[in-house]
């Protein structure tokens, strides 16, 4: 396998990991099962290993120098999806009063959106390199979903204001919701970087 193919393959594996992490986060939050969150941290560490190995491949000469900066940025963006998912999981673990989850279809929707976004990216990643038109179409969908996640976040925070929460629980809940929405932001950033890479040749 060529060094370039190994890099693409590694990024593909990182994207599959990020999809698994998002699915696990969804399951952990909806089932209020904090034990599952440990698995997300393990996945995040696996992603770190892949990021280091990919960066080494790039340093050793994979891709033309002109492309290396953006390819490395793409790797870091994908790693950021994993980091943000892990961050959301860690905040969730710290929340003691999970009452805000009762009847919150909005939080469930954001979790679903994150899974959908990661699925779009990971399932079509190789295809995007081959058919740039498909990437442009996916970009439009990703932007729409990200906007929806952003709107939902503000709506959740408005509702949260009305609740009587203990100080630390309030902070951790706020941070958790922020991190949850940030995942969709990072996926959008990854798509932007991917588009720069694909169009740069």
């Amino acid at each position: 396998m060529r060094a370039e193919e190994r890099v693409i393959d590694n990024i593909g594996k990182m994207l599959i990991l990020s999809l698994s992490a998002c699915e696990l986060l969804r399951k952990a939050v909806l089932e209020k099962n904090k034990i599952l969150l440990e698995e997300i941290s393990r996945i995040e560490r696996d992603g770190d290993d892949l990021r280091r190995s990919t960066a080494r491949q790039i340093y050793r000469g994979a891709f033309l120098p002109y492309l290396r900066t953006n390819i490395l940025r793409l790797v870091e963006d994908v790693d950021d999806i994993l980091n943000t998912t892990d961050k959301a999981g860690k905040y969730f673990r710290k929340i003691e009063d999970l009452g805000f989850l009762e009847n919150s279809i909005e939080i469930e929707r954001i979790l679903d959106l994150n899974v959908m976004l990661c699925k779009i990216l990971s399932k079509n990643f190789i295809e995007f390199f081959k058919v740039p038109e498909k990437l442009s179409e996916a970009m439009i969908v990703v932007r729409m979903l990200e906007k929806e996640a952003d709107n939902l976040k503000h709506s959740i925070l408005e509702n949260l204001k009305k609740k009587d929460l203990e100080f630390w629980d309030g902070i951790f809940t706020f941070n958790f919701i922020e991190a949850l929405e940030e995942i969709s932001d990072v996926v959008e950033d990854t798509m932007d970087t991917l588009q720069v890479v694909v169009l740069s040749l």
Binding site: R2, G61, L64, P65, L67, P132, S200, L201
Partner: protein, 312 residues
Amino acid sequence: MIEIELISLVAFLLIAFSIGSNDTSNAFGICIGCRIISVRKSIIPLFALVLIGALFQGDRVVKTVGYELVATSVQISAVALIISAVIIVIANIRGLPVSTHQVIVGSLFGSGVAFGTSVSVETLSKIVLSWLLSPFISGFLAILVFLSIEKFLRHYNFLQVEKILKSLLLCSAVVIAYNMGANELATAIAPIARSRDYHSIAFLGAISVSIGAFTLSRRIAETLCKGITTLDPKSGLSAHFGAGLAVYLFTILGMPVSATYSLVGGITAVGLLKGVRTVKFRVLKRIALNWAFAPILAFILSSIASKIYLWI
């Protein structure tokens, strides 16, 4: 007489070493910078291509410079090569870019005039015209290559394009390395071609070029790599290929032209194609001044050295 011949041989080897250390970057520099090939691995193909170039087509440039331009003698060649070697080595140490061709032609002509031997102004005019035309022809070819690449690569995906560009960079490096033997090394051989066996001199020259490439070209290739990152691969490749083809065309015509100046022409043309703002005209002005100054300086210094030699 033997001492003079030996000195001119040493001066020739020094020039060949300098060609290797400086101009290898024109050929394999981008490939080394892009890590398509390592410095160590590039030495053997470089040696082979330079030697093949010098043996197969070097005679055309040797005929123009060594036979038609000046009726050389051992003394004329010795003075011209020593002055050329001194200018090239000092320029290299001080980091000033000079064209080996221009320095050798300027020195040889200056020496020939000072010694009062027969010199051909017509041949000199043709050579100067080649120097003037080569950056423009290189630029024209670079644009053609750029447009063809743009059209051809449209049908391929990202990873295929990357692979094709790398292969084309290697092909382009092969053309330029061949030109190094057929044009650049041949120009350095030209002054001593009458008094020595061409094949053995070409072999010695190719070895000296390879040693120069191995010892000093890594630093230059690294510098080039840093510079190339700001140039997109298609533009860089087009300029490289355009320059390679232009120098090859002039080699067929027997004209000694600089790959570096051709490369400058190629880069400028592709830059202009993308927009006037991308071209740094101040840098171009400095290159043009240097282009005019080097052969004149070589001519003057060589004339003075020859007069001193005759006076002694």
